[in-house]
Each structure stands twice: as C-alpha cells, then as structure tokens.
Amino acid sequence: MKEVIRLEEIHRDFKVGDEVVHALRGVSFTIYSGEFVTIMGTSGSGKSTLLNTLGCLDTPSSGEYYLDGVSVRTMDKNQRAVLRNRKIGFVFQNYNLLPKTTAIENVELPLMYNSDYSASARYSRAVESLKAVGLGDRLLHKSNQMSGGQMQRVAIARALVNDPAVILADEATGNLDTRTSFEILVLFQQLHKEGRTIIFVTHNPEIAYYSSRNITLRDGKVTDDTRNNSILSAAEALARLPKQEE
C-alpha cells in the first residue's frame, strides 16, 4: 500500500518563558493510503501539536515528516500553504465556515487559492463535493441558515473539494449531539470505504471503534498503535439510537 504520511522521530519543543515544553518527544508512525486513523489522547498529550504538524501548519523542531513522499521540514511558509491547499483537507470542531456565505461558496474557497481552476471547474467540483456529503439540494443555503450537522457536512465537502491526499479532522463531532455525531461518522466511514485517507483527532475513545486504526498519544509519545479488525458500523449504531422526539 502507498505511504501517505511518514513521521520519523518528530520532536516539537516550545519555549514558554524560560522553560522549554516538550510537546512531542519522538513520534514515529506511517499512515497508508485508505486508512481511517483515530488519534486519541487526553488534553496535554500533544495531539494538537501533532495535528498542526500533520496539517503542515507547524514544522517539527527535529525529525522528518513526509507527506505524500515530500519532506515538509525544510519548506517555508508559502510552500507549506501550497501543500495544504493541494494535499490536505481540514475539518474543524467549530466548522469554521465563512459567515453569511452560501454552502457552494464555502466549498469553493480552497479552489479560489488555486489558479489552476477556472470559475466553472471550481463550481462543478464544489457541486460534486456537496453531493458527496448529501447536500446536493442545499447549494445556496447560507451558513447561518444551517444546522450544526449541515454545517459540518459543508465543512467536509470543503475538505474534499481539492481531492486531498489526507483529510484531517479535529474533534469533528465535538460540537454535535449524539445523533448528528453518528451521522457525521457514517459520512466519514463512507468516505473511508471510497478509499479516502482520514485522520481523526479526538479525545472521545468511542470513535476508535469505527476507525480502522487507533493511535494513542500520551505525554508527547505514542503509547499504543493498534489496528482495528472489527470496525463497527456507524450506520447501524445510528439505527439503534432511540428515535428523537420531533
């Protein structure tokens, strides 16, 4: 299988006043194409720092990080911006949609920063993505007219629009109620089935049942890395949930 991400002895130190905080202390793992990996950890475990590193928002203090075969460590800010634009799809806990902006415009946004796309190509790609997350009929809804689940779907469509090498989700279900969380998980599992590589960072251990692999982080080190051979179906879990009172 093709390597998408390879971390080799990643260290990340922060200077806070006179003290040096070691957020990551030698993290190494490889993620292959088509995996659905959950990265689990309590707060302070270094998972945010790891996510920033994986998302090319931050560079490690030492160690090598290869994204889709390219070394990220030596890249400057602009090169990393281009890399994020082409290779990574972000899904945030608080959706981060542009306010007062339609679903389609929100989804088009990453392609606006890619001059390879013409306006029409951009539009059709965005429509495709929105259809893929089940919002084909809500193209012109504005972000403030949508529910949390719909907003997160738009955010996922935005992450898909540039056909990224990896989708990075940061507590993507953290702001949603149980039912909507499962709906989003169903969507992630569906994307996984389609062959997408997904990294889902969370502190909710339950989500690990629905992913294909779980990496646990503690005090800046990987303490556990297990493959999940009996992936639960989020769709079934959703069906078992008690019906909501309308």
């Binding site: 911006a81 281009v82 981060n96 306010p99 920063y113 001059s115």
Partner: protein
C-alpha cells in the same frame, strides 16, 4: 492566486458588511467632496476677481512720456512731447504681444447742454480704446474711422455726464453738446461701468476721436499717452519689454541711458488680488485635506477592527492554502475598494455640492479637472497607505492561533 479571485473575495467580504463599509466610506466621501467643493469655491472666486480685473483691462499697458533733464532743469513728464504717432505705428507693426492700441489725449473742462453743465474730461482716442478699456455702447453707435481721419466733432458720453446734462431723461443720442467752445454731436451712450477698485467713476467721461481733441481742443501734434492691451494678462511682461525696445530705438536712446518714457500695467494690482484668493484656496483645501486624512484614519481603524474580528476567518483561509500575501492583498483590496468607491461618490457629491452653492448662494464656482483627479488619486493612495498596516497585521497572523481565536 489570481487577482480576479482576490477581488471577488474582497468584494464578498465588503458586501457582508454593507453598513459598516458605507460608514467607513462616508469619511472618504466627505473628505473628497469637501476638497472638491472648497477648491471649486476658491477657484470660482479667483476667476470672478480675475474677470473683474480684466473688465477693467487687466492686460492694459499705459505708455506715457517720462520726465527729462534739460540743462539741469527737471521737466515734468506732462510737458514732454516725446510720444509721437510714429511710436504708436511702430509698436502696432512690430510687436507680437499687443492686440489693441490707441493713442490717448485728454482735456478737462466744462460740458454744456442748454442750461445744464458739468465738469468732466474728454478723452481723445482711437476706436481700439473701446476694446482696451472694455467700454461698450449701450445706445447709438461708436464714431467711425472716417470721423477719426477728419477730426469730426462727434463724441460718446458716459452715464454720469448724461445724467448731469439730461436730467429729465431725454435721449442724448443725436443731441449736440458743447465742450469748452467746441460743439460735439453725441453719437452714442457708453454702457455704465460704475466705480473702479480705486474709487474712480468710470462713467464720468466723454470719448471723442483723438484727432479732434488734438487739433480742436488742445492744438498739439504729440500724444499724451499710448494705451494698448497685451494678448492676455500673462503676456504683459513680454509686451512691455518689446514696446520699451521699440521706443528706445525710435527715441535714439543709447544703452545705459534712462528711458524717456514710462510704461505701466495693471499687473501688480491683479497679482495682489489673485494672491489673496490663492491664499484662501490653499486654506480651504488644507481644511478639506485634513478631513480626507481623518477619513483615511477611519479606514485604518475599521480595517484593524475587521482584521481582529475576522481572525478566525483569516486562520481558516491560511489553513486551506492562502499565503500571507493573499491575505495581504485581500485586505488591501478591501480598503482600496472602500476608498475608491468613497472617492467616486465623493467626487460626485463634491461637484453636486459646488453646483448647489452656485445655484442657491449665487457664489461663483469653477471645478478644475485636476482637482478631481488629484483628490481621486489621493484617496486611492489613502486606501493603500491606511490599509497597509492592518493588512500586514492580518498577513502576519499565525494560522494555528488564528483558527482557534475566540
């Protein structure tokens, strides 16, 4: 990232905050409008003062004989007979900067009609004089060239003279009055000019052919004065230089010797008056410029607030691939859009306000095209200048912190 996309993004961001955008724009609108209105008013009053001066003949040049010393005796300029008709003809044929030229001789005395009489002055002139002094005939007609050649006893009278001699309102045209002992037939009435800025009544005069005054009243052959007009006010200097050269040759004055004539113009008066209005224009423009500056600071303020408020949006844009310079360009375009749109509206509002001032207050205005271009350019620069720091601040944000900003 191409420019069209950035432009679209900036436009979208502005349209999300229409009221705020408009209020920010208002500072620029008021600034630009006041610059344009103030300059229009300043330039308008300058133009109207210039027009008043030129009504008096701002390009008028007066050539008179100078005083001289003969055998140690200082002679009065009035006694000199050095200006001849030949001088006039040479000036007429040799200078390039003179449009109209007329000899002038005058005599003061009593004008009489029936039982009425008034002290006045008769000016003996050529037809050009009317153009130089901007006299117009309100009734009747001016005397002809033939009248000048034949020293005909015809004249035009000013309103003051007419009021004195014809108190019961008879039409003076065609009547014969006496000046001293000489009878003159009135061929026309001069349009009233009122008092000039020196307080002289410009209607208290009689105008007759110079030949008539020379031969029949004064019995002289020389000219007391030559009056001419330069092409326009700006050419007065050159005209004076040329005239002086011609007269020095005619009068055989060697280099180093003093002129035996004097040349005066109205330029000093006009430059004094226009410098006053120029000063006023500068002051008005300075006040207006300050309001434009305040408008620019308003843009800067709002852009700073906007950057802070949209920190998360900036973080998101960066995390999905916007480079620092994309963010910089976006905010810069936003502030330029605000200032340029404000500038456009301001130009229209300024022109409108100037027209309202003109119509309502009957104040003279003049809208100079350069003032429109200048204020437009200034507000574009304002947009770039005051938008730069906030945009720079936005571009320097760390995406990791920006995306989690609450």
């Amino acid at each position: 990232m191409n420019f069209a996309n950035l432009f679209k993004i900036a436009l979208k961001a502005l349209s999300n905050n229409k009221l705020r955008g408009f209020l920010t724009m208002l500072g620029i609108i008021i600034g630009v409008a006041s610059v344009i209105t103030m300059l229009a008013i300043g330039q308008g009053s300058k133009k109207s003062i210039q027009a008043e001066i030129s009504e008096m003949g701002s390009n008028m040049i007066m050539i008179g004989p100078g005083g001289d010393r003969r055998g140690g005796v200082q002679l009065s300029a009035d006694d000199m007979e050095s200006l001849k008709l030949k001088d006039l003809e040479d000036i007429k044929s040799q200078t390039r900067y003179v449009t109209y030229i007329s000899p002038a001789v005058n005599s003061s005395g009593q004008a009489v009609y029936g039982a009425n009489n008034t002290p006045t002055t008769v000016y003996g002139v050529d037809l050009d004089y009317m153009e130089i002094r901007r006299y117009r005939v309100s009734d009747g007609d001016i005397f002809s060239e033939h009248d000048v050649k034949t020293a005909a006893k015809v004249c035009l009278i000013g309103k003051t003279v007419a009021d004195e001699l014809f108190p019961n309102g008879d039409n003076p045209v065609g009547k014969v009055i006496r000046f001293g002992t000489i009878p003159f037939r009135i061929v026309g009435m001069l349009e009233s000019k009122g008092y000039n800025s020196m307080g002289m009544d410009q209607d208290d005069l009689i105008i007759a052919p110079y030949t008539t005054v020379q031969k029949r009243i004064l019995a002289i052959t020389h000219l007391q004065e030559i009056i001419c007009s330069a092409l326009s006010e700006e050419y007065t200097e050159q005209a004076i230089d040329e005239i002086s050269g011609i007269l020095r040759v005619n009068h055989k004055i060697r280099a180093g010797e003093d002129d035996d004539f004097t040349i005066r113009s109205q330029q000093e008066l006009s430059s004094m008056l226009t410098s006053t209005t120029d000063m006023m224009t500068v002051l008005l423009a300075a006040v207006a410029g300050i309001s434009l500056l305040v408008g620019g600071i308003g843009i800067m303020n709002i852009m700073y607030v906007s950057v802070t408020e949209r920190t998360r949006e900036i973080g998101l844009r960066m995390s999905i691939g916007a480079k620092g310079r994309d963010i910089l360009a976006q905010f810069l375009i936003e502030s330029i859009l605000i200032s340029v749109t404000g500038g456009l509206i301001g130009v229209l509002a300024g022109i409108g306000a100037a027209l309202v001032v003109n119509i309502v207050a009957a104040f003279p205005i003049y809208i100079q095209p350069w003032s429109v271009f200048l204020s437009f350019a200034v507000c574009t620069v304002t947009g770039i200048f005051f938008g730069w720091y906030p945009a720079q601040k936005a571009a320097m944000l760390d995406p990791i912190e920006a995306i989690r900003y609450e």
